[in-house]
Each structure stands twice: as structure tokens, then as C-alpha cells.
Symmetry: C2
Subunit: 410 residues, 2 copies
Amino acid sequence: MGVSPNEIGIEWEKVYAERAKGMRASEIRELLKVAKQPGVISLAGGFPDPTLFPVNEIKEVTDFVLLNEGSDALQYGVTEGLKQLREILVERMRKEGADIGLDNLIITTASQQGLDLIAKIFINPKDTIIVESPSYLGALQAFNAFEAEFVDIRINKDGMDTDILEDTLKDLIFKKRIKPKFIYTVPNFHNPAGVTLSLERRKRLVELSEKYQVPIIEDDPYGEVRFEGEALPPLISLDRSHVITLRTFSKILSPGLRLGWIVGDPEVVRKIVIAKQAADLCSPSITQNIVYHFLKKGYLEPYLEKVRVEYKKKRDLMIESMEKYFPEEVKFTKPEGGLFIWASCPKSINTEELFFEAIQEKVAYVIGASFYAHRDIHNCMRLNFSLPSHEQIEEGIKRLGNLLKKKIGK
Amino acid sequence: MGVSPNEIGIEWEKVYAERAKGMRASEIRELLKVAKQPGVISLAGGFPDPTLFPVNEIKEVTDFVLLNEGSDALQYGVTEGLKQLREILVERMRKEGADIGLDNLIITTASQQGLDLIAKIFINPKDTIIVESPSYLGALQAFNAFEAEFVDIRINKDGMDTDILEDTLKDLIFKKRIKPKFIYTVPNFHNPAGVTLSLERRKRLVELSEKYQVPIIEDDPYGEVRFEGEALPPLISLDRSHVITLRTFSKILSPGLRLGWIVGDPEVVRKIVIAKQAADLCSPSITQNIVYHFLKKGYLEPYLEKVRVEYKKKRDLMIESMEKYFPEEVKFTKPEGGLFIWASCPKSINTEELFFEAIQEKVAYVIGASFYAHRDIHNCMRLNFSLPSHEQIEEGIKRLGNLLKKKIGK
């Protein structure tokens, strides 16, 4: 009798596109599931502190929106985004020194969509993208989904090493005859590395972009979460022709709203609008209206101020705890903002192997190798201080420190 | 002195990916701008009637969400979507006869994202996709963004012609050695054609999918907006192994929430989850929470009932007006649901050329050619009856009818 075709079903692996074959589930995602086991203190993840969310203010403006603009907020919007929200964001960016107008800016369904759209309009299979080593995992995934190949540039305490960058650009362009599609950088409070690109390197980076005509993708979700030191000019303020900037409300207001924006050359913005139209038509009108009124009411600055104060306390506590409990062989960054500290262990320690021991000790981090395009560095870990409580930070670092001491043989 | 490199800027056309070169702005989008001129009655667009939106009920559940679950609603969610919303949707789909569980379903940022993700995981450049003639423009755009090639199948009053489909499948697979990636169909109240796939053809379509092992993408945004006749089983209820279904809240609740869902084989859903992670991490938590409570409160059915009653009145009025004002040479569909009527003029009339005359007469429609993958039919137009008021429907059809009569020489 045989099996009916219906029961056989489709062999999906044979139907997928080439690009889908290389798509892997994020390890962070899988590890976060492990980190959620009862009793485990998670220093993994990259969530903002939900106890700080300005719920009352959001409720107030949401009430206003639904009472006064309900029909608009529930209807389709234009692909570029709500005009009055775009205007207010242009104004904010101008205050940061970016000489832009309305046609330089499009609203996205948060920064991850920004990365997806950038990848979609720029990346052919096997195109070379320059990324940092380490780099933001979500960007690697977005670019990987379009079959990019990566060349990575080491970063140190001042961010991407621009000398190495120039050598690499020369080697790629003149020797290998490969024109990289763009340079991807997270200049402020780097995810995962916690470092900030110095002013000198910012200027140099933009010069290199101009000299070699390779655009820069500036991914800056954390710039406004600076809790000490002086703000440095965003790359887009140094050169609005070569730089495309991604911003998001995820870390400065709420990730659950899924809203961000892209700033770039009007020609690029027009192309992104077309790509976004095919991707989701428009971002939600309701959340755009909520955020517009939140900003207009002046609620963002007081909230950000609170975030900066509380995150600084948490960072201070994590640094203090690391100084107290970590063996001195483990080096770590001291970020002036953002959500993450990056710890480098002696080469003898493989943090991928260590992870499972850490879970036994009821503490979790993100394995450093996840953030390397070529997965070639194995002794690092990313630690998040925004989500855990003060108690969890101290106890989590203590558990991790004790484990590290044991491994190093102290 | 010369121009500094900075001023030269990037030649973006040279940087774009191949796929971006073929991306064009939607004509509908451009035409809608024209249609927005003062005094123009727009029968273009595809917006639901905003005067019906259940603003009070949405405000009530939004208040509840922000008062009781504010921190969760403003935080990141999981990529698959809010579990309790997925559970309630699985239950709904089971009532429609789809034998599915939680691992068959993922929430998307509305159906357009569903189309984008389907395209992303399945379409290699030059892959052949079978679409209807005419077909939903947003799908053509989503597939075009991944460089698909289209083979189109004529539809008539019973939907896609499954005899032609089988001939086409045989020709493609056995003669041309081309395995199409999937068959894309809008079975209920087709956009733009307004027709519904008959039960017989539904069964045949699924049989052909099984026989030739070509999956079906069932795009069903309007199925629940049926205002007369009997509901037909969704394709996914006939075969959950070969059919992937896209649904959305855009037409049954609100497009401004940007929420939809995909149902398919768990293996495919897993791949879509990974693709979505790189595309926007997750859909907005806040809107998912709002919709969940809206459904849980039982607010959807009474709202849908109101929509059905009001849309039926508008369709009736548009049909009556067309019978009264249109020349008899113009044929049109009488949809049992949805938002659109499709009108076919004599071959001598090119609706693209007619459009500008229509704008002079202060009435707008969507040019039929936009909906054909090969832009090879020029005598049709899509008319929307959900958005315009009763007065606008009657007056708009009268203006259009007079223009058509003039062109036909009556």
C-alpha cells in the first residue's frame, strides 16, 4: 500500500535557500535558556533593568494617544515612520552635531531591523564586511543571513585599531582586489567589549572611509547611556556622506516597543524605505505615537538620568566585586556607559568549557567566542550588569571568581 | 584645490547588492500620494475602516497591561512570540480544522514580515515561484527582493485554475527541469481579485502540492472577514505538512499593531525563528500583550461581527453603484468578504493611462497592472470599499463610471 505522499511531507532541507543553510540559532539564545534554570544568577543576556522602566509615564502618554488619536494609532502608517517622531529625532541628532534633515532619517522596528535592512540592500553572497574583533553577535547574524564574509579588526581600550584597519584596507583593496562593502563598528560602550572609540580614532576612521571610499555602519545603541566621562561626537556628525548610523529606543527607553531609527545619505534612506516596505510595510503606528508623545512631554531625559545613575551603581559594584573575587590574571574593561563588562582570562581557560561548570555553580555569562566572526578566541566572557540586582551582581561575581581561581589553581 | 573626498561622498549605486538594484518603490505607494490630493475620492489603498476600530476595548486592555504587566510588556520577548498569545492562536486555528500545536506557530511583525521571512529562507536568486495572475503586490515585492522569477497562473471566479496549475507544474518539472520553490496563493477574497478558491480547487491544490512535492504558501489575511456565504476550510486544515499559512491582525483588528502569525511544519517554524531573530529579534512585547488580553476578553468576535456588517453594506453599495453607473462592458467581481472589488474593462482601455484622467475627475483606484508579475494585463483596476464612506463610494463610482462611459464612447 505504501505511505501516502501527504504523510511523507516535504524534505525542507532541500527547499531552503543557500543563505538559510548557514543560519544557526543564536548560542546566546540557547545559553539564555540554560541560564534560566532555577537558582542560576544570570550575568548573560543584555536586557535593560525592567524595574526602572517609566511605566507610569508610558501609561499616561498611551492613554492620551488612544483617547485622542486612537484611529491613527491603529491604522497603517507610512514606511518612513511617523513624521512628527522623525522630526523630533532629527532635532535630537542635530544637537549631537549631525547636520541632517528629515530625508536622512527612517524609523525601523528597532536596530536589529536596521541591521537586516542594511544587510539586505548592501550584501551579495561572499561580499567582504569589516567587523570588529569581537563584534556584536546580532550584527554578525544579520550579515551572515546574507552570506557575508568577515574580516575582523582587533579592538583595544580605545576601540577599533585604525592602524590595523588601514593596513587591512590596503591589503584587501590593492593586493587582493577586494572592495569591502562596509566597516561595521559599535563606537560607544562596545557590545561585548565595553570600550569606547577614542576621538582620535573616530577622526581617523572617517578619514579612512573617505580615502578608501568604504562606508561606515555606526551602530550606537548605548551612546546615551553614558554615566561618566565626556560624550564623544558620533561618527555621523563627522561625515554624513560616508556614515550610516543605527539608533534604537531599546536601551534608552524600552526594547518591548521595538523602535529604532537609521540616519544616512538620503539616497540610501530611500533604498532602505523600499526594502522596509517589503519587510514589514511600516513599524507599528501605536508604538511610534506613544514614543513621540513620550519625547514631546520631555519624559526621556529624566528617565535616562535615572538609568545612568542606577547603571553606574551596578557597574561600580560589578567592578568592585571583580577586583575582590576575580584572580588577578583575569583582566577586564571598565566601561563608561552601556550594559557590559568584558573579561579576558588567561589563554589556558576556555570559557566555552567553563560555562558548564559555571552553571553547576549557579552563575551564567555569555561565552566570548560567540562574538568573534571566526570564533578564534576562547578565553573571554561577556558580563551584563544592567539586569541583575545588586545582590545578584555581588554573589554572581563571587561564584564566578571562585570558579576562576580554582581553574587557575589558586 | 579640488573637491575633498568627503564632499564627493559614496557612489551608492556601486555599493548596493544585486537584489537592491531591482527594488522599486511600490507604485501603489506613489499613486496613493496622488490619491491624497484634496478633493480626490480614493478607492485605492487597502486600509480597514478606522471609524470601526475598537479603540475603547484596546484602551481598556492596554491600561490593564501597563498597570499589571508593564515591566514585561516593555522588555524583550522571545523570538517565537508571547506564549499565551501563541496558545490562544493555536486554539483558534484548531477550531478552523488545523491539527496543530504550539511548535507549529510563530508570531510575526504582521504578514508582510511573514512574506519577507518566507522569501528569506526559501528563495535563491532566479528561483521560480508560482503566483496567481493577478497576485498580491506586497508578496511580489517581498519575493522580488530576493530575486525570484515568477510563473503565474490565471485565476477566475473560483480562484486559481488548478488545471492550468498542473499543466504548468508538469511543464516546469518534467520538461524544463525547474522545481518551483512554492505556490503562493490568497485563497479567500483575493487581493486584488476579490474571488475565493472553491472547495474542489482547494482539495486539488493540496493534492498537486503533495503529488509534485511543491509547498503551498497560503496567505489568508481576509478569511475571517467573510460577510456572506459559507466559510471554506483553510488549506492548512487539509494538509499541515505541505502548507505554510500566513495570518495577520491587520484586517481583523488593527494594522497599526503590526502583528501576524505563521503556521507551518515545526521544522520550517524553527528555521523562521532563526531568520526572524536576525530580522528584528522579536515582535513588540507591548502589542503582543495588548492583543492577547483583547482576545482573552472575547473582544475580537463582536468587533469582527461589526466589521462584517459594515463592510457588507459598503460592498453592497459599491456593487449597486457600479451596476448603476458603470458601462455594461466593464465586468467586476462580487466578493463574499474582504476589502476589494476587481473590475475588468474592455481591452481598449488602459487603466494606467486612465488613472491620470481619473485623478482629474477626482477619483483614484489602483492600476491593475501592478498586480501582475509580468505586468502584461492593462485593462483592470482594483477598487477598495472598506475605507471610503458611503457617500464617497457612491460619488467615487459615479465619477469613475462617467469617465469609463466617456472612454467607451457611450
